[in-house]
């Protein structure tokens, strides 16, 4: 039996305004979703052209969830987005050309060719770079929240994890510490129903991942992850609650991973019908329709967003391809930090 609250969809423009988004914000959210998908679609092309070494991962189907959460974060809030959360990087303002440079292992990627795909973050934008051991980032976000609590700052950390990651101990330990100390952290579970090829019933035995929140002493909420406004509203509430000292919330955002685990995986194990069903609630199309019906988005506005994103992507690709590959001696630089590295706003 479900314990978590199942969030209602967002209906009217008035309701959205109450949640803190005006019409301009809504168009920006839509633009960020279009850009997120565009980056990953171009990434696929680059991969097929042989320009991306290793494998390539996307978050197709998760654009509403990633952009919706990031839109709800304040400028001084921080987070640990994972590999389906490109929309977080886009919303926080990472320049798209640096993402392509990262994909291609160039020196201008945020990790300067040291790590690949979405294993990146610009710390100046309040993001902490993920590792492949996905749930490991959850205690790290809890630690950021602990720093805010110790310093009595009104800042919040957002910790992302997947339903697969929810099986590991880091997740349990991080939520336990956050729960007992009522830390200002919001846990966001990107439940895309497939952990590589493993379905949800082999990852957790409750109805929802969010049902677990009750056991840690905070609220769990399940939200439709294809509804960007519902995601935004629920996360915004949770962030403001955390900011006000109300402790953590676990928000489970339900989507379907619309591609394989990575490019090498054709997802043969996902029932075709499941893809067809979820394709009907494509997050971009869903929000586009909503904007036209509820916020009077015009053809001109829609075209302008499409063409601006296209220009941005073309320019970003051109610039990224000009970025050099790293040179071998750079490998050895910066294994250890020097005191000068601490000369950042965080360490003052």
């Amino acid at each position: 039996m479900a314990i978590a609250r199942e969030a209602e969809p967002v209906g009217s423009l008035r309701e959205v305004r109450d949640a803190g988004l005006d019409r301009e914000d809504l168009l920006q959210v839509y633009r960020n979703m279009v850009l997120t998908r565009g980056i990953e679609e171009r990434g696929h092309i680059l991969y097929r052209q042989g320009k991306i070494p290793g494998s390539f991962y996307t978050g197709r189907g998760n654009e509403a969830a990633s952009v919706g959460v990031a839109a709800a974060m304040g400028p001084d809030d921080v987070g640990t987005p994972l590999h389906r959360d490109m929309g977080v990087h886009v919303t926080r303002g990472v320049e798209p050309w640096r993402i392509f440079a990262q994909y291609m292992g160039r020196v201008d990627g945020p990790t300067r060719g040291r790590d690949g795909n979405v294993h990146m973050a610009d710390s100046k934008l309040g993001l902490i770079a993920m590792v492949s051991h996905l749930p490991a980032m959850l205690p790290v976000a809890v630690g950021a929240a602990l720093a805010f609590r110790i310093r009595e700052e009104k800042r919040v950390a957002v910790a992302w994890f997947g339903e697969g990651a929810s099986a590991r101990g880091d997740c349990h330990e991080g939520m336990t510490l956050a729960g007992v100390r009522k830390l200002p952290v919001v846990f966001v579970c990107d439940n895309n129903q497939w952990a590589y090829s493993t379905p949800t019933h082999l990852e957790y035995a409750t109805e929802h991942v969010a049902d677990r929140a009750d056991a840690y002493g905070f609220e769990g909420i399940v939200v439709d992850g294809t509804d960007v406004l519902a995601v935004y509203r629920e996360v915004k509430r949770a962030i403001e609650k955390a900011r006000a000292g109300g402790g953590p919330t676990l928000i489970e955002s339900l989507t379907l991973r619309m591609e394989g685990h990575a490019v090498h995986d054709d997802a043969f194990y996902v029932p075709k019908q499941m893809f067809e069903e979820w394709a009907k609630s494509d997050p971009l199309e869903r929000f586009r329709t909503w904007l036209r019906e509820n916020a009077d988005m015009t053809d001109e506005e829609e075209d302008e967003i499409a063409s601006e994103v296209k220009r941005t992507l073309n320019e970003a690709l051109r610039r990224a391809e000009e970025s050099p590959l790293p040179e071998a001696p750079q490998l050895l630089e910066g294994v250890y930090a020097s005191p000068e590295d601490l000369d950042t706003p965080h360490h003052k």
């Binding site: 921080v78 945020p110 990790t111 300067r112 040291r114 790590d115 294993h119 990146m120 973050a121 710390s123 902490i128 770079a129 590792v131 492949s132 051991h133 490991a136 980032m137 959850l138 205690p139 790290v140 976000a141 809890v142 630690g143 950021a144 929240a145 602990l146 720093a147 805010f148 609590r149 110790i150 310093r151 950390a157 101990g169 880091d170 330990e173 991080g174 336990t176 510490l177 007992v180 100390r181 910066g334 294994v335 250890y336 930090a337 020097s338 005191p339 590295d341 601490l342 950042t344 965080h346 360490h347 003052k348």
Partner: protein, 322 residues
């Protein structure tokens, strides 16, 4: 100068930094009300409050992971593992996240993990280990292993100041047994610099932690052999120059550690001596370490495992006669 035990010197170093720098906080199991299993943080919660001396749930992954996040956000966390053995639970946080974050993402992680380590009192397989070589092998981590009260304080302050994740191995067998004069003011001992514990002419013993005293006892029993004891003090980075200098002076070397033999850090030292000072040697490099066995509980078994003074005497005698 005041005479402090090794344990009091650790407390003193930690207290000094917490008074000086508001960013420093302590987190661990039973570190607050109880003052830590070994009482290193006794009285700290009264002085610094609940949010700077944090009693954590029994969750080493969360403790070390939270330190990583807090460090990235500008704090200077000092985690206490109740016993060094429990660091295995937080391996991933240290090795996967903290160690690689600077190199990969440009984000320094200035944190310290205190690790009460070492055997000698029937702690058994899970309360006695010396896991420094496992972590010395991980690029991005630093490992320090003080042997004296003065170094215990100075190296802890250096570790807290350091912009990297530093594992601070404090040997439990030294806690109350070793006492010495410790400066009252704040000072640092550089990470990566060895110390000549005792000068000598005939044989160099390269060691660290509690084995410094085992070597000292052994050297006393050999009237006719002049033994130089080099206390490495920090295992990563380690002071290669100081070791090679001593080797070139004496031409005979005993590498001694309490950790198990195969893949122990002594192997790295012996290999380096073979690569860089082979021509200076008058005898093969000798290693004395624990056998490749888990740490036992029963006293005769534990005594058979941890290198004893007699073992070192025999090793030195052997080298002297070579």
């Amino acid at each position: 100068m005041a005479e402090l035990t090794y344990l009091q010197a650790i407390s003193d170093g930690l207290r000094t930094e917490m008074r000086r720098d508001k960013r420093v906080f302590v987190i661990g199991e039973d570190v607050g009300v109880y003052g830590g299993a070994f009482k290193v943080t006794l009285g700290f919660q009264e002085e610094f409050g609940h949010w700077r001396v944090i009693d954590a749930p029994l969750a080493e992954t969360a403790i070390v992971g939270a330190c990583t996040g807090a460090a990235i956000m500008g704090m200077r966390p000092v985690a206490e593992m109740q016993f060094a053995d429990f660091i295995s639970c937080a391996w991933d946080q240290l090795v996967t996240v903290a160690a690689k974050q600077r190199w990969r993402a440009g984000t320094p992680v200035p944190m310290v993990v205190r690790l009460p380590s070492g055997g000698g009192f029937s702690g058994g397989p899970f309360h006695s280990q010396n896991p420094e070589s496992s972590f010395a092998h991980i690029p991005g981590l630093k490992c320090v292993c003080p042997a004296t009260p003065e170094d215990a304080k100075g190296l802890l302050i250096s570790a807290i100041e350091d912009p990297n994740p530093v594992l601070y191995f404090e040997h439990k067998h030294l806690y109350r047994r070793i006492k010495a004069e410790v400066p009252e003011e704040r000072y640092t001992v550089p990470i990566g610099k060895a110390r000549v514990h005792q000068e000598g002419e005939d044989i160099s013993v390269i060691t660290w932690g509690a084995m410094v005293y085992t070597a000292e006892e052994a050297a006393k029993q050999l009237d006719d052999v002049s033994v130089e004891i080099v206390d490495l003090r920090t295992v990563m980075p380690w002071d290669k120059a100081a070791v090679l200098e001593s080797v070139r002076k004496t031409s005979k070397v005993l590498v001694l550690h309490e950790d198990t033999r195969t893949g122990g850090f002594g192997a790295e030292i012996a290999a380096t001596i073979a690569e860089e000072a082979f021509e200076d040697l008058d005898a093969p490099v000798k290693r004395i370490a624990a056998p490749d066995t888990p740490l036992p509980f029963s006293p005769p078994l534990e005594k058979a495992l941890i290198p004893q003074v007699d073992d070192v005497v025999a090793g030195l005698r052997d080298l002297a006669e070579h």
